[in-house]
Symmetry: C2
Subunit: 427 residues, 2 copies
């Protein structure tokens, strides 16, 4: 097939291309692949990296925390002091502003929403007693964030993003003038799925917000804060430093976890917010549980000892993941760039490549891939209500398959992008 922009081709040339691409697709289908690239899951070799974690708390260890508390027993709702310190060091936060939870940061986000919905926060009426609750949703974004707000009946407003982060003029206008806007979903570093890192100006603009609603919070999901793909990662301004400077410490809930540091199923999640917010949340969280798994917190602390060791550990993940991202990017560069039928991000960290196909083809591409044996994240999933108005964005999650599988999957993906574009052009 000619390796040139499809937009400049004659109808005959496009028809020939289509026939050729269809044949390539049919040949792929005959291979009967069964691969899953739907989720940002670490691969088995990444999970093997932290197997020694399981020996970090052997039967002859003391399970007494620094504070003298027995981590095996009830109590210590906010988590053990040494875990607070570890996670605070990772984030650049204060240990007494850290709440250490169970294995899921999503669970902590849910809890924050639930408390505002059922009980109300900062003296405001519970959201279930307010007429309309709105959240700003930078797009493309994380489908599980959107599912959380949808669960509570929150109206979601998409906010465009560029390489510096969300459109802060639009954010400022909504947050400062609309009392029904109660939150915004942010993944500030290696955003899911775009991979962008918020600029310092963006972080400062967040810290400077003067919300119309007293119960407005920035949901700052720092899921990928140490998940670099380069040896010289950028050092963006933290929300903590920016908000301290702005005297606006109570405006954010920050989330972090070791789900993609140790084990997704058995890591430790944490929440960081002002002491005043912590006190309010803890009062309510103490009703739903007596405490999270403190022995697993201790296991993580004994294993890593400090934040620097955890950062060093992340280089092992990088060594496994970088070649996978390179496969994706090289293949797109080689197969899609010359045809002019797509744009994509080149992330310096995180778990995703965000691919924008020609408008109106994303759903078709995902369907073609599925029929060819490769499951991708659903088209539209990166938008609130699963509604991508352009039907363009596809989240590529290269981490779980092996390199060989990934090559095959990306070969199919490129064929499907081409096929969908040609179908559209020859309609």
């Amino acid at each position: 097939m000619e390796n040139a922009k499809l937009s400049g081709m004659s109808r005959e040339a496009l028809q020939a291309c289509l026939a050729e691409t269809q044949a390539a697709y049919d040949a792929f289908q005959a291979k009967k692949l069964s691969l899953n690239m739907a989720r940002g899951k670490p691969g088995p070799e990444q999970l093997d990296l932290t197997m020694p974690l399981l020996n970090a708390l052997p039967a002859d260890a003391s399970l007494i925390s620094e504070s003298g508390d027995d981590t095996r027993n009830y109590g210590l709702l906010e988590g053990i002091a040494e875990a607070k310190k570890l996670f605070a060091d990772i984030l650049g936060a204060k240990p007494n502003e850290m709440f250490i939870g169970g294995n899921s940061s999503l669970e902590l986000m849910f809890a924050c929403l639930q408390i505002a919905y059922v009980k109300g926060i900062s003296g405001c009426a519970p959201w279930c007693r307010q007429d309309t609750i709105r959240f700003l949703c930078p797009v493309p974004g994380y489908d599980r964030h959107f599912a959380l707000t949808e669960y509570f009946g929150v109206e979601m407003i998409p906010v465009p993003t560029d390489e510096n982060g969300p459109d802060m003029a639009m954010v400022k206008q909504y947050v400062e003038q609309d009392e029904t806007v109660k939150g915004i979903w942010c993944v500030p570093i290696y955003a899911n799925p775009s991979g962008i890192v918020y600029s310092d100006d963006t972080v400062r603009a967040f810290a400077a917000l003067k919300p119309a609603a007293k119960d407005f919070r920035i949901f700052w999901d720092n899921a990928y804060c140490i998940h670099h793909l380069t040896d010289s990662p950028r050092t963006p301004l933290t929300i903590n430093a920016a908000c301290e400077e702005a005297g606006n410490e109570g405006i954010f809930y920050q989330f972090v976890s070791t789900s993609k540091v140790t084990f997704p199923g058995a890591g430790v999640a944490a929440l960081n917010t002002s002491r005043e917010n912590m006190d309010e949340l803890s009062k309510h969280l103490g009703v739903q549980t007596i405490g999270f798994d403190k022995t697993n917190q201790l296991r993580h602390v004994r294993y890593f000892e400090n934040a620097d060791n955890m950062r060093t550990h992340m280089k092992l993940h990088q060594a496994i993941l970088k070649p996978k991202f390179d496969i994706v990017l090289d293949m797109l560069e080689q197969e899609i760039r010359p045809l002019g039928i797509g744009e994509w991000t080149k992330p310096e960290g995180g778990y995703f490549v965000s691919f924008n196909a020609p408008q109106g083809t994303a759903k078709r591409i995902v369907q073609l891939c599925k029929d060819g044996g490769v499951v991708l994240t659903s088209a539209g999933a990166t938008y609130p209500y699963k509604n991508d108005p352009m039907d363009s964005n596809i989240r590529i999650a290269p981490t779980y398959p092996s390199c060989d599988e990934l090559k095959l999957a990306m070969e199919l993906f490129c064929i499907c992008v081409r096929l969908a574009a040609l179908e559209q052009l020859t309609k």
Copy 2:
């Protein structure tokens, strides 16, 4: 002091007794004790029993579950199959009707309430959109249950209990005739705090209920199902068998955990309900988390292997706890029985002795104990809204202190009961 019923004494004798008891109390205060008997916490020697659990999942183990899933990774919201089987065997339930959660059964109870409150269940309007929501609360009961329902603004109706369980005529009338009654808190075996075991007739009466509300559920907290204090424990009818017989499988949510089998902070909790209820709950639970800690589920299964081993393990707890309960009961028998100033339960399992002091003295007794250096569960805590109309019930939790500490604490307790009674009689 005379060892006779206070009620038969002359005023002079009572005054003399009071002086003598006050002196005993003062002498105790001089000892400056600092003991805590407030909560049903296992003692350190109980926690030591399961230290080998920590070695049950070493770094060289396979963490792949029977189903072929990697327990380290995301997924398997309902838990691993082998844990479903283990907990099903403990309860006499079906494995596919088990949801295996994190470290807290309280968290699962909260989730069930939260789902009904926010989303509604069985096609009914969410509780936050219904005018009045009521729960029946057998008393005395568990303060954390009451805190859960209070959190959601549920109106709590106390239901008297006797040695066979709650007053089932009253339960039936409320449940079958009042559509605002959405649930009832039950601890069917070794109830908290009374220690009673529901009779088979009581269990059958629960299974036969025809609720007015479609979103009514029995919250069956089987926290102490294998926590026996005798060598020949009773074998009460299970709610599962009774409801299957009555064709009423969807009426209950049953809860169980290893909090008092392995570690309170790092055990495994489970929920058992009909498959239809499970599907409804899972749909919603899948929004708030991708999955609970499956490696800790696997750790427990590898350690215990089967339900019989877990039951055998409980004999080690019994050996530690029985002497503690004997200290409490012997002391009450010796110090309080002759004076006729209290009644109490003699539990065959569980974590508590329920003590009924003369009306109007419970708060005073708890305060006296506190000032004497022994913290008890607050008086009133065993009633909804912390309101014991008789000001009589006190929950004694003998498990955490050592035997020596417990003897001292009970000595003080008996002095305080006597002192409060004498203060009242000489007023």
